[in-house]
Amino acid sequence: MPTNLKNKDIISIKELTKTDILNILEKAQKLKQKPQPKLLSGYVLGSCFFEPSTRTRLSFETAMKKLGGSVIGFADPSITSTKKGESLYDSIKIIGQYVDVIAMRHPLEGSARRAAEATDKPIINGGDGANQHPTQTLLDLFTIKECQGKIEGLKIAIVGDLKYGRTTHSLAQALINFNARLYFVAPESLQMPEHICNELKAKKIIFSKHKNIEEIINEVDILYMTRIQGERFPDPMEYERIKNVYILKESMLNNVKKNMRILHPLPRVNEITADVDNTKHAYYFEQAENGLYIRQALLALTLGKL
């Protein structure tokens, strides 16, 4: 039974049921196969980016335009009343009077939920600080399904900054719905937080922690890479010591499963070397493209047009 997301806010991946998720993925797949250039004709998206974003903002705005809708908004809060000290609540209340749906990114955690209290128009969270980024997780799931033919029961390794990375937390939480076997590959100081591990244990999801990619690379279906940021380390020497451990090179792919695909939320810096791009295992650019279809599906679903 498809769920009704009309007028719903998309704030946190945890609030979406498995049925909701599958419904969004299915609608995105249909839009990818058959574009609908007039579906949101007459509707306006408020694109409110209180902090910089490239892919998320551009893909939201392109998604709206490709469905026939129009876009107002800003990519730099310094040109808005926020600079004058206006509260987020007031800003969103007013913008909500002009537009039909709002996509937003804000540096503070919980800002999307606060925004949802200010307006009855749907809010789609494009990232609230280090907290949630549900559209990224949905496009990750969409991409996993696309390249593996299923999501259920896969072996998925998540590599890099698992402590602070919001995409890694949301992905692990979403995969609870799909009975994944999870491998967390990170230096000890950046391992998956205890509260996420407890959630996984409570749902009987099997996971293990590893210190290097080689331990698991030949076993997994998905290798989800993320960037380790040097500034996360209290000790710069520690960063220098481990930074090369989490770099994926073509030479490491010799014995991986044929169906294994590499994903990355991007931007990458040096954690995947360029020689990996030309292998059949690289799938991160397709993944970025899929953001467009997921965001189209979310815009159309929250506006009640699908």
Partner: protein, 163 residues
């Protein structure tokens, strides 16, 4: 230097604090929390006599605080507020020097306004708004879950309250 194992004071002291005729005794407060509870319940500004005892020996808590408030019966809402600061606390209602009612405090499932989120990047610390936390009691630990930043904290990590 004495080799006595027992504190002599413990043997001599007949009454740890004065018994009260009418009122409420809040017992089994984790040591160090009593002053915050007095502030939270505004017990210092209602002209009732309040006796505060700190660092009493306790089997369960090792050290505990006790508050006695005369001529005031704590309401269930007030008792719930105590629960956030002192989940193990017991409330004794006293009439004519006798305990007529005794109950453990119960943590509400949703706490509004009272707690300040320890996460400086939480929107609640940056906008003029009320906080909302879900609570989760597990054996002796109390976890609170900020509905905004979605972070989960141990009750001991909450250092500031909207009092």
């Amino acid at each position: 230097m004495s080799n006595q194992k027992k504190s002599p004071l413990k043997d001599i002291r007949a009454y740890k604090v004065f018994a009260i005729k009418e009122g409420t005794v809040i017992d089994h407060i984790k040591a160090g929390k009593a002053l915050q509870i007095i502030e939270l319940l505004k017990l210092d500004s209602n002209n009732k006599i309040v006796t505060l005892g700190m660092n009493f020996p306790s089997k369960a808590l090792k050290k505990k605080d006790i508050i006695k408030v005369e001529q005031k019966e704590l309401t269930p809402e007030e008792a719930n507020k105590v629960a956030i600061l002192a989940p193990q606390a017991t409330i004794n209602i006293i009439q004519d020097f006798k305990v007529v009612k005794k109950f453990k405090v119960k943590i509400p499932t949703l706490v509004e306004k009272l707690l300040i989120c320890p996460n400086p990047k939480c929107i609640t610390n940056n906008e003029n708004m009320i906080t909302r936390f879900k609570t989760n009691v597990n054996k002796n630990s109390v976890k609170v879950h900020c509905e905004y930043c979605e972070k989960i904290f141990d009750q001991n990590e909450i250092k500031n309250y909207n009092i």
